[in-house]
């Protein structure tokens, strides 16, 4: 049962990674691409980490599982800081946000 749960979490994580990559390639400008990068990819990482932590809990103990989960807040903080820095810089350089109807 637990193996099924962790494998499903891995697959769901892969799905969100895939969606994030598709968004990065399809979205029209820097700002919208940041949405794809900051949200879908982080959720994918979260699911993958949760799935692996479940497996590690059974074989390697609690501390190993918590260590895997510890990566998530680090990645979240990093990605929040980076997306703000890039969005702010883009705005300062006068990159106009894409609007509906633009090419």
């Amino acid at each position: 049962m637990s193996e099924f749960t962790s494998n499903s979490l891995l697959v769901v994580g892969a799905f969100f990674y895939f969606a994030g990559t598709v968004g990065l390639l399809r979205f029209p400008d820097v700002y919208t691409r940041l949405h794809a990068l900051a949200k879908a990819d982080n959720l994918g990482l979260g699911c993958v980490l949760a799935g692996l932590a479940l497996q590690a809990l059974e074989t390697d103990g609690l501390a190993a599982a918590l260590k895997l989960l510890l990566i998530w807040p680090l990645a979240l903080a990093a990605s929040a800081a980076v997306s703000y820095a890039i969005a702010q810089r883009a705005a300062a350089l006068g990159v106009r946000p894409w609007q509906k109807g633009d090419e």
Partner: protein, 157 residues
């Protein structure tokens, strides 16, 4: 300096060491030195403030955040995988009522991970957001986040 603060920070760092060492105890004396150094450095770099974080609002904030990051990821995934790309991005200026400093920074950074928003700028008390889709109820959700953070820091929003 309250001894209780020192104690809790020490315990947190010890826990962090235990997690990083994957539960092995054979190098515990190195860990002890590390925990002592980290506690000293944290007291030096961020001295205990008057208003401290409280446990119940922190847990509620974490639950709120977790749920919203799942929603945000799902929303972006749906928009990205739709066969015809249907986006209507806008920008939104929002007056922040939180005091300057840690609370405002936390709000700015959390908003980048919430559904539909990325922070673009913050001057004084105006937060500029890029919104992925103008049909999303972004302003209301940002207010909810603000209320959560205000409770977390025990400040009036």
């Amino acid at each position: 300096m309250k001894p209780l603060t020192v104690f809790w920070r020490g315990v947190s760092f010890a826990l962090l060491w235990w997690v990083l060492a994957e539960g092995r105890m054979d190098g515990w004396w190195v860990g002890l030195c590390g925990v002592a150094a980290a506690t000293w450095a944290s007291l030096r770099l961020s001295p205990p403030r008057a208003g401290r974080l409280r446990a119940v609002p922190l847990l509620r904030f974490l639950a709120f955040f977790l749920w919203n990051s799942v929603r945000g990821g799902w929303q972006v995934a749906r928009l990205a995988l739709r066969p015809r790309l249907d986006l209507a991005p806008t920008t939104l200026d929002l007056a922040v009522m939180l005091p300057a400093g840690g609370a405002r920074q936390l709000m700015l950074n959390t908003l980048s991970l919430m559904p539909g928003t990325v922070g673009v700028g913050l001057d004084d008390a105006t937060l500029r957001l890029h919104v992925l889709d103008s049909r999303l109820p972004v302003a209301r959700e940002a207010r909810a986040l603000e209320a959560h953070i205000a409770r977390l820091f025990e400040v009036a929003p």
